[in-house]
């Protein structure tokens, strides 16, 4: 069952926002509503490299688990890396 290789990277995901998006208690409770607010806030405030790297890791994990295909992986990876590069560029120009 041992596989040949994997990718290592530091930095991890984003637990609280994920957990709140999970429809744990069903529709009537609308946990989603809070979750969405939190995610929006997170996207506004946390435009930093760590978060995006966490997203990248999460994406890799989904890919490893076969939850997304090559095409979807590549699409999301490009989007995340473009944002990362934009942030790095902005930092350099500061």
């Amino acid at each position: 069952m041992k596989e040949g290789r994997k990718i290592q990277q530091e930095e991890g995901g984003d637990l609280l926002t994920n957990i709140l998006t999970f429809p744990i208690l069903g529709a009537p409770i609308m946990v989603h509503w809070v979750a969405q607010k939190l995610i929006e806030a997170a996207e506004q405030e946390e435009l930093d490299e760590g978060k995006l790297q966490g997203k990248l890791l999460e994406l890799q994990m989904q890919y490893e688990l076969g939850e997304i295909d090559d095409e979807e992986y590549a699409r999301q990876e490009t989007a995340i890396l473009e944002r990362l590069n934009a942030i790095r560029k902005a930092k350099e120009e500061e």
């Binding site: 994997k6 990718i7 637990l15 609280l16 957990i19 744990i24 890396l81």
Partner: protein, 269 residues
């Protein structure tokens, strides 16, 4: 492709670094492609009995795409089939200002840190890194357990039911906090239980960050080569015992990224 298009504009003026090995001869490694995909030969830069495995590269920043990172790791694994490796962090390139990238590697890296590298080499020699990621198979079932195990959570859930979003805002935030805490505790308990089984075998264990909610354990194990088989057996047994509840993603031998990854910072003279 972000990195590649940048790369094409520049000439090959630098070296991309993969790993450090104990080897006193200049040599090439065939059958693997350089990071960046520009077809350059994987070769060594030697100082005394240490060598740095490199390829020619433009002076550019490499994006951490899966393709690039896999290329980095594949080269190191190829070298690992013949040598004990000290892996260098992905994306390390010599600086553009440098008069001679080869001299930089030889003197600023290998000579300056010679003793450190030798002792790291000794530390890694005869050992392998194995990766173990464990995930709950069914995330929903885990949340159901949490609800079943937590009376406060059930009470809060029931009190929210039927009331407006505005009126229950803080209750719902509180609900999220309780769930998060319960999940963390459950994960921690199960991760400790799993790791106990490896303590007698592994020389070192490193726990990396949890990437997704249903992840229980994200660990790297440093194991003596002679005990690798034993470690495989523990994972096989765990899979037999717990396979219905958990998925085991077991990889290796991997380059020891988690136990001796080298980060190079080129100093200006």
């Amino acid at each position: 492709m972000l990195g590649v298009s940048m790369a094409e504009e520049k000439t090959r003026e630098a070296k991309y670094l993969y790993c450090i090995i104990k080897c006193s001869q200049e040599c090439n490694f065939n059958g693997v492609s350089a990071v960046g995909g520009h077809g350059s030969q994987i070769h060594t830069v030697v100082f005394k009995d240490l060598a740095c495995v490199v390829s020619d590269s433009p002076d550019t920043e490499y994006d951490s795409t899966r393709v690039n990172m896999m290329a980095h790791e594949t080269v190191i694994e190829r070298v690992m089939s013949e040598f004990t490796v000290l892996p260098i962090r992905f994306g390390t390139v010599t600086t553009k200002d440098s008069g001679s990238p080869v001299e930089d590697i030889r003197h600023k890296l290998l000579e300056r840190h010679y003793d450190e590298f030798l002792s790291l080499h000794e530390d890694m020699s005869g050992r392998v890194e194995l990766g173990l990621k464990v995930l709950w198979r069914d995330e929903k079932a885990i949340y159901q357990e949490i609800v079943a195990e937590n009376r406060e959570l059930r009470r809060l859930r029931d009190s929210i039911q039927g009331r407006s979003a505005e009126a229950t805002h803080f209750d719902r935030v509180r609900l999220g906090e309780i769930v998060k805490k319960a999940l963390d505790q459950k994960r921690d308990r199960e991760a400790r239980m799993l790791l106990t089984r490896f303590h007698p075998i592994a020389d070192r264990i490193r726990e990396n960050r949890i990437i997704i909610d249903r992840m229980v354990l994200n660990a790297a194990l440093l194991v003596n080569k002679d005990r690798e088989r034993e470690c495989d057996e523990v994972v096989e047994r765990l899979d037999e015992e717990l396979g219905e509840r958990m998925v085991f993603k077991y990889t290796g031998p991997n380059p020891p990224f988690n136990f001796c990854q080298i980060t190079v910072k080129w100093e200006k003279e």
